[in-house]
């Protein structure tokens, strides 16, 4: 029996599809060209030496412009935080539920002062720890679109303790 045949309040489904086309702008255009084309990670450096990723025009810690001062960081990195996710989550970029479990964490590129979230190629929490050296695993050139997902995930560096 559907709710139409009862006195229950109705629930009325509706779907709105929102499409956007975001401008990359100055920093992202430079960053994603280097990421997609050369597998290089570029960050901006503020006058007081803070290396910031994502790259940006202003360092909030110092309230100073970064003045287009770029440095390469990584590709070596370490875990600054981690989890293993067991609940399915709809991948925003594909609209498809990501298979579980998967590793997820805060990654700090060597030479950088901030972290970025990314997927981790390890689903046993006992094998993850803060400070664990990790390295990016790149998608094939044909799959790279100019997005952080051009890095498939980070995997623990072999032999690392």
């Amino acid at each position: 029996m559907s709710s139409w045949d009862t006195d229950e309040p109705l629930r009325l489904p509706q779907q709105i599809t929102l499409n956007y086309r975001f401008a990359g702008g100055h920093h992202a255009s430079k960053f994603f060209r280097a990421l997609r084309g050369e597998q290089k990670i570029l960050a901006t450096k503020c006058p007081n030496g803070h290396v910031l990723l994502p790259p940006r025009p202003v360092c909030g810690l110092c309230n100073l412009p970064t003045n287009d001062n770029w440095v390469e960081v990584g590709p070596g990195a370490s875990l600054a935080g981690y989890t293993v996710v067991y609940v399915p989550f709809i991948d925003p970029m594909t609209g498809v539920k990501r298979p579980v479990p998967y590793g997820f964490g805060l990654v700090r590129f060597d030479g950088c002062d901030t972290n970025v979230y990314h997927l981790i190629d390890e689903t046993d929490p006992a094998k993850l720890r803060i400070g664990l050296p990790v390295e990016p695993v790149w998608k094939d050139e044909s799959e790279r679109t100019g997005s952080f997902a051009d890095i498939r995930w980070f995997k623990p560096v072999e032999g690392a303790e």
Binding site: G81, Y82, V84, V85, G105, V116, Y117, L119, F148, A149
Partner: protein, 387 residues
């Protein structure tokens, strides 16, 4: 000179996973009517309205305008805010500034969300920076879990200690008529046995997703005294943000920079040097059990690394020296746009001695926090003394 401002009336809905019995405007009217009825007021007695929710959660743009007739706001002065989990507390802080400055006299704050009407997990993805962050997100739970690992690593807090927070919240909720998740018989073991959502956060460690609304009326000076027998005067109202991106704050929860900044400023304004002794109750925005432990530390309720010992000692229990979240907190009730206003509403009720069923005796000063955006903080201290 700015004017003294006080919270004078509170109303909220019965919060639930799905309020299919009412539309969003009908649900919000419940909170507004309860708030105004408690003081014999009508919409016409209010000068301005500050509304807060996340428009993309229910998919309604210009939502306050769509509801203007249904809520009785047509022709009124309306402010609409939207800044994530903090938004409810931001409506209160905005009301405070609008009244203290003399711009408005009576302001009704309204926070609301009907999470069952949208896809919250997808909507949370829209919080991420479209260029930099969305490609690799894992929802609110993955995000919290990753920062929880940092806190656990720093503090040594255990799963049992976090579970105690989860138990406290759901038991306290049983004394709050309006709370969503009430579990009178919940045990620490049950929390530890609940499904792992994202290591180390289990299902019962996490807040629910609720439909609900809250309303708080603020007024100035003698008008406040007329409206409430025991107004909750605003002693401090502070907002602090962090840097732009989610990974910028190195230790996230473990050293929540915006919360430390906000409490340092607020304690200074309110003349508080020993918060456990000088505050009588706190309503904090704890999205997960572990977060409350971290917040004890960032609010200086205990030394750094002492969050776990703080819950073990029972300080934050209903009969402890500084009860935290007598209402059941976010772990029991979470309609996002209302959640932080519920913290302010509960602090107001406690200060007014009107928190029926979960009143802490002799409250003179109460603290409320909001958490949202990129680890931002809204913080208010309310008190019985007019400053």
């Amino acid at each position: 000179m700015s004017r003294a401002v006080a919270g004078v009336a509170v109303g909220q809905t019965h919060h639930a996973s799905r309020r299919t019995d009412v539309s969003m405007p009908e649900m919000i009217r419940e909170a507004i009517d309860r708030c105004l009825d408690s003081r014999g007021l009508r919409i016409k007695d209010v000068d301005a309205f500050v509304l807060g929710n996340m428009e993309m959660f229910e998919g309604i743009n210009y939502v306050e305008q769509w509801m203007s007739d249904a809520l009785g706001l047509a022709g009124k002065q309306v402010w609409k805010l939207n800044n994530g989990g903090t938004v409810g507390a931001s409506t209160a802080i905005t009301a405070y500034n609008l009244i203290a400055s003399g711009y408005h006299d009576r302001v009704l704050c309204v926070g609301f969300e009907k999470q069952s009407e949208g896809s919250t997990q997808s909507a949370i993805t829209t919080v991420g920076d479209p260029i930099w962050e969305r490609a690799v997100m894992a929802g609110a739970i993955g995000n919290f879990a990753a920062m929880t690992s940092v806190y656990v690593n720093e503090s040594g807090a255990t799963a049992e200690q976090a579970a105690k927070v989860a138990v406290k919240a759901r038991r306290n909720a049983c004394n709050n008529e309006y709370a969503h998740l009430k579990l009178p018989n919940i045990t620490v073991q049950e929390v530890l046995d609940s499904d792992m959502l994202a290591y180390p956060v289990r299902k019962l460690d996490m807040c629910p997703s609720s439909d609900g609304a809250a309303a708080v009326l603020f007024a100035a000076e003698d008008d406040a005294k007329k409206l409430s027998p025991r107004p909750a005067w605003v002693h401090a109202a502070v907002v602090a943000h962090d840097q732009q991106y989610m990974g910028d704050s190195p230790k996230r929860l473990a050293e929540m920079r915006s919360l430390i900044e906000a409490r340092t400023k607020a304690y200074k304004i309110a003349g508080i040097t020993d918060p456990v002794k000088e505050l009588d109750v706190a309503e904090v925005y704890e999205p997960a059990s572990y977060a409350e432990l971290a917040m004890y530390e960032c609010l200086a309720f205990c030394p750094k690394g002492g969050g776990g010992a703080h819950i073990d000692a029972g300080v934050s229990e209903m009969d402890g020296e500084l009860p935290v979240n007598p209402s059941g907190g976010v772990l029991s009730t979470n309609p996002v746009g209302a959640t932080a206003l519920i913290r302010v509403a509960e602090a107001t009720l406690q200060t007014m001695n009107e928190a029926t069923g979960h009143q802490v005796p002799n409250v003179r000063r109460a603290l409320a926090t909001g958490y949202g955006g990129n680890a931002w903080t809204d913080l208010m201290i309310l008190g019985t003394e007019r400053l």
